[in-house]
Symmetry: C2
C-alpha cells in the first residue's frame, strides 16, 4: 500500500466533502469512514461483478472499523438503473432500519453510484452517502458532483436528484482489474478536463499518458487533477443553473446522440468512446465555424487516438447512424433550452465555452459531411 | 370573488416563495402563475374526485393565461402514494417534453401534493412546482414546507425529497366542497399551530372557531396564520436538521401510532383525527410528567372536542389498539433518533418543546392507563 494519498476538497458550504485518491484505499475505507462519520451504520450497494472482485475487502475493512452494515448486490449493467432496482435498494435500506445519519455506500462504477446515490437521496428524504468508485470513469466523473439518477423509458438519467456524497474514496489500485477498453473509455473524461480549461494538464497528459495507464503516482495525479477540475466546476454551479457546469458536457451532446443511435449497445459503443468521438466532433465543428485552429483540433484528436480511443463516427462498428437519427437525439438532449441548440465548442486546447443558439442547420450539414467522409 | 387575498412569504433564500390565500383563487390561478413564471408550460396532476369538482376551472384559467399543459388524473386515496404512480407521473411529465424551467401543478389534497411534488423533485433532477391545495389539511400543512414523498411497504412517507414549490395558491372557497369530517380533520392542524407556540392565535380560534368553519374572512385569516406559523418553522429549519421543525410534530408521534394501529383505515381514523387525539395525549402526558397544568391540558382538549374532533383513544371505532402495538409503532417512527424516544411535549397552551430521551416505560405506563380508563 502506498502512503501517497491525494485529497481533493469539494467546496459546497455545509455540503463540502473530501475525495481521497490513492492506492490501497479499499483496505482503509472503514477507518476513513469511521473517522469522518463516527457511529454510523451502513448499507453497501454493489453489483455482482464488483462484489466478486472487491466486496470482501470492503466488508472486512468496515467490520474492522466496527461499522455494522447490510449489503445489496445488484445485477451488473445499465439496465440496473431502473425504478424497480431503485425500489429494491430503498427498501433494503429501510429494512436495515438505517436512520438519516446513517450511510449508503456505493461500491462500483457509475451505474451503482448513480442508483445508490439516488436511493440515499430519497430514503427518509436524504441520508448520508459514500462513494467508493471502482472504474476510472466513476473516479474522475460520476462519483464527484452529486448527480444521481436512473433511466426512464424515454431516456437516460431523466429522473434523479442532486445529492452530494459525504466522502469519496477512489482506490486507484482497483483500476488494475478493469479491462483495457474500460480504462481507455474512462480516460476520455480525463482528457476532457484538459480540453475544457486546463491546457497545462492536457500537455502533461500528452507527455505522461502511458504512465497514467501503467498505474502508480502518475495515475493518482491524473485522477486527482481531474477531480480538482470537476470539483471547481461543481462548486461554481452545483445544480447546473449558472451555466458553468454545462462545460462538463464537452463532447457529450454528440456523444449521447451516438450512444442513442446505437441503442446503448456497449458492444458497439460505451459512454467514454462516445465522448471521445463527441469531443473530436466538437473540435472539428469549431474549426468549421472559424472558432478554433485546425492545428489544435488535430492535437486533441491525435491524443485521443494515441490513447486507443475512437474519434470518427465511422469507427463505430455496425450500420452507421443517419443524420436524422442524430439530430432527433440532439433535439431531445437535456441541454436543449426552450428549443435552441446548446453545444460546448472551443477556441483551442483548454479553451472551451458554452455556445447557445447554435444553428440547427449548421450542425446538420456538418454531420452529413462527417458521415460522407467516413 | 373576494378581493381579500392574503400573501404569506416563505423565506428560504433563493428558494423563497409566496402562498396566496383567498376565495376564488382557482379562477385566477393561470394569471398568478403566468405573472410569476412567465413562459412556462405545465403538467397538472390531480385525482378523479378533485378532477370532477375543480379541474375544468383550473384548466380554463391556465388556457386563458396561455399556459400550455398536460393533465394526469390519478385514482384517489392514500394508496396512490406509491412507486408505480410516481413513475406514472414522472413519465407523463417527460412525455409532455417539459423542461427544468417548466412546472408540475398539484391540484388536490396531501396525497396529490406529496406525489406530484416528489415527481417534480426528481424529473430532470428538479423542476418547478406549484401547489393548488384543495383540502384544509393541505392548505395549512402539506402544501407548505417542501416535504414530498410516497409510502413504502414499511411505512408512510419513508421515501421522498425536500422540494420547495415556486408558488402555493390556496383557494379557501373550494373548501366548501369538503365533507364536514374532512374539514374538521384539517382543523386539528390549525389548532396545532396555536398549541405549539401561538397562544394568542389559539385564543382567537377559541373565539372564532364557528366563523372559520363557516368560511369568509375568518377562514382566510386562520389559514393565513397557520401558513405563517409553518413558514416561520420551515424558514428556521428547512430540512429538519436543527430540531425546530420537529415542533410541527406535536401530536404526530402518538397520532401516527394510532393510524398505524388501525392500519390507516380512514373509516376508523383519518390523519387529522389521529393528530387531535395525539395532541390531547401529548398534553395529558405532559401533565402527568409535571410539565403542564391540568387546566391548560383541559383547555386544549375542550377546544378540539368543540370542533367535533376526537381526543381519546376509546373514541376510535372498532377494536382498541394495544399498548405493545402502539409502542412498536412509536419505536419505528422517523422521529426516533438512535434508539431514544423523542416527543413534542408542552409546558402549557402555546408552549410546546422538543423532549428528547423520553423514558420508554413512562410512555408505556401512560398508554396503559389511557386505555384502561377508556
Amino acid at each position: 500500500m502506498s502512503s501517497n494519498v491525494e485529497t481533493v476538497r469539494v467546496e459546497l458550504g455545509d455540503r463540502s466533502y473530501d475525495i481521497l485518491i490513492g492506492e490501497g484505499l479499499l483496505d482503509r475505507a472503514g477507518a476513513e469512514i469511521a473517522a469522518r462519520l463516527p457511529g454510523i451504520r451502513a448499507a453497501v450497494v454493489t453489483d455482482e461483478t464488483v462484489a466478486g472482485l472487491h466486496l470482501p475487502k470492503l466488508q472486512a475493512s468496515l467490520r474492522a472499523a466496527g461499522i455494522d452494515h447490510a449489503t445489496v448486490v445488484l445485477p451488473p449493467g445499465e439496465t440496473t438503473k431502473s425504478y424497480s432496482h431503485l425500489q429494491t435498494v430503498a427498501e433494503a435500506v429501510i429494512e436495515a432500519r438505517l436512520e438519516r445519519g446513517d450511510a449508503v455506500i456505493a461500491l462500483g462504477g457509475g451505474v451503482v453510484g448513480d442508483l445508490a446515490g439516488f436511493a440515499a437521496g430519497i430514503v427518509r428524504r436524504g441520508m448520508r452517502f459514500v462513494q467508493v468508485p471502482t472504474t476510472l470513469l466513476a473516479q474522475v466523473d460520476s462519483s464527484v458532483g452529486g448527480k444521481t439518477g436512473i433511466n426512464s423509458p424515454q431516456g437516460k438519467n431523466l429522473v434523479g436528484v442532486f445529492h452530494q456524497p459525504a466522502l469519496v474514496l477512489a482506490d486507484t489500485g482497483v483500476l488494475d482489474t478493469l479491462v483495457d477498453r474500460e480504462f481507455r473509455a474512462g480516460y476520455a473524461e480525463v482528457a476532457k478536463y484538459g480540453l475544457i480549461d486546463r491546457p497545462d494538464f492536457f500537455e502533461w497528459l500528452e507527455a505522461n499518458r502511458t504512465h497514467v495507464f501503467a498505474g502508480g503516482p502518475a495515475r493518482i495525479r491524473a485522477i486527482a487533477e481531474s477531480c480538482r477540475a470537476k470539483a471547481a466546476v461543481v462548486a461554481a454551479d452545483e445544480r447546473e443553473e449558472a451555466g458553468a457546469r454545462a462545460l462538463l458536457n464537452l463532447g457529450h451532446t454528440f456523444g449521447h446522440a451516438l450512444e442513442k443511435a446505437v441503442r446503448y449497445d456497449p458492444a458497439r459503443l460505451v459512454h467514454g468512446e462516445g465522448v471521445s468521438i463527441g469531443m473530436a466532433l466538437a473540435h472539428r465543428f469549431s474549426v468549421r465555424e472559424g472558432l478554433c485552429s485546425g492545428q489544435d483540433a488535430g492535437r486533441a484528436e491525435a491524443h485521443l487516438k494515441a490513447a486507443g480511443l475512437p474519434t470518427r463516427i465511422s469507427e463505430i462498428p455496425g450500420p452507421q447512424p443517419t443524420v436524422p437519427d442524430l439530430m432527433a437525439a440532439i433535439g431531445q438532449d437535456k441541454k436543449v433550452s426552450r428549443g435552441r441548440l446548446t453545444f460546448i465548442l472551443t477556441h483551442g486546447i483548454g479553451q472551451s465555452f458554452v455556445a447557445r443558439d447554435v444553428e440547427r442547420q449548421a450542425v446538420e450539414r456538418f454531420l452529413a459531411d462527417e458521415l460522407a467522409e467516413g
